[in-house]
């Protein structure tokens, strides 16, 4: 009997000790981790909506969040759509900046991807991929030029270039963008993207 009691007591106290220790550690790191996450998002927003001074989360659900980028005056100068979906092998998370009417793209940033290095991973590469996303007409669905056009000028305003040898990744990004754009448009129409809704911070 004595042994059993000791077993319970020891294990419970180890649990209690570890709990308190972890509570401390958790408490100490919590803010910093939250801050890291926020900073990552903010930096991305600033990158995809040039001129942003402050940001605000307008909408959030799984796989899709919409942020507003504001100028000094506090007016929303563009939306930053934070979305993710399945790529060549694993998830791709991206941030797309658009104007407030959701008709033109600003810029695209890829936040997280596990595509093949040297191939699909070129979606993070400005020269081969991201450059084509600047200033596209996104009032309708954006489409992919395949085989790739030789220069950006050849592309239609609503077209982007494929990465040669990585059609799937290009298509995946396109798919994520198109569906999140459409979703966001719906939200906009339903009035769920009012900038007064909630403030980040």
């Amino acid at each position: 009997m004595k042994l059993s009691v000791r077993m319970v007591v020891v294990l419970t106290s180890i649990g209690l000790l570890s709990g308190s220790f972890l509570a401390t550690v958790g408490h100490l790191t919590k803010e910093r981790i939250a801050l890291n996450k926020q900073r990552e998002i903010e930096e991305a927003i600033i990158q995809v909506i040039p001129g942003t001074v402050s940001t605000q989360k307008l909408y959030e659900e799984r796989d899709l969040s919409v942020y507003g980028g504001k100028d000094e005056q506090g007016t929303v100068i563009g939306f930053a759509i934070h979305a993710s979906g399945i790529g060549f092998q694993d998830r791709i998370t991206l941030m797309l900046g658009t104007n407030t009417s959701l008709e033109r793209t600003n810029r695209l940033a890829i936040l997280d991807q596990k595509e093949t290095p040297g191939l699909g991973a070129k979606i993070t590469d400005a020269e081969s991929f991201l450059q084509y996303w600047e200033n596209r007409d996104c009032s309708g669905a954006i489409s992919l030029r395949k085989p790739a056009a030789r220069s950006a000028e050849e592309l239609l305003p609503s077209e982007i270039n494929t990465i040669t040898g990585a059609t799937i990744s290009s298509e995946a990004v396109l798919g994520i963008v198109n569906s999140s754009l459409e979703h966001t448009r719906r939200l906009l129409k339903e009035g769920k993207l009012s900038s007064e809704a909630q403030d980040v911070n």
């Binding site: 294990l11 570890s18 220790f21 972890l22 958790g26 790191t29 290095p117």
Partner: protein, 203 residues
């Protein structure tokens, strides 16, 4: 228990009882995060941290723990330090933390750590356990370094992100991908066995 000198206690982890090459322990993280040297190194260091602190704690309270609940106690202790390591990385090195993904938390099930507690720390003094943990960690870090260096150099032409191969070099992407991990580790293990065999037969 142990009759080894302190020096031997440390050295054995590097080769004779190298957790990866000789004991085949903790292969999952070894394979998973060695695509780049920086990740392998970070993982190695995180594991080192957990191993050292768990060994210290376990060896200092070993008398208090009834043997029937020892595994459970070790798990809690290890998990605690793993959480610390995980939080620390997330707080101060967010990119690395992101790259390592779930593999840092997975240190908790790394057989090396639990195995060392069971086989060593629970029977030895704090001091010896520390040396043993240091040796084992060094062995683990060494393995991670070798593997990740091969994979990164061949797979990307870089070492710790610096270009080391000439421009002529066409990176073997396979090396950073899962098949390359398996095959490289396989070949390294074969080499380790071969070396072991050689040294043994020479004795």
């Amino acid at each position: 228990m142990s009759t080894k000198t302190i020096g031997q206690e440390f050295i054995k982890g590097l080769w004779d009882e190298n957790p990866v090459f000789r004991q085949l322990l903790g292969l999952c993280p070894t394979l998973a995060v060695t695509g780049a040297v920086i990740n392998g190194l970070a993982m190695g260091l995180a594991t080192t941290f957990v191993l050292i602190f768990s060994s210290l704690v376990v060896s200092s309270i070993k008398k208090l723990i009834p043997s029937q609940v020892r595994i459970a106690s070790y798990i809690i202790i290890i998990a605690t330090f793993v959480t610390v390591a995980d939080r620390f990385l997330a707080a101060f090195f967010p990119p690395i933390s992101k790259n390592l993904g779930p593999y840092v938390p997975l240190i908790v099930v790394n057989c090396i750590i639990l195995g060392r507690q069971e086989a060593f720390s629970s029977k030895n003094t704090v001091w010896r356990s520390l040396i043993d943990a240091l040796g084992m960690s060094a062995g683990f870090v060494l393995a991670m370094l070798v593997l990740s260096a091969i994979r990164e150099i061949l797979g990307a032409g870089t070492f710790l992100g610096y270009q080391v191969m000439g421009a002529w070099f066409e990176p073997w992407i396979i090396m950073i991908l899962p098949p390359g991990a398996f095959i490289t580790l396989g070949i390294l293990l074969a080499l380790a066995l071969h070396i072991e065999h050689r040294t043994k037969s020479r004795k």
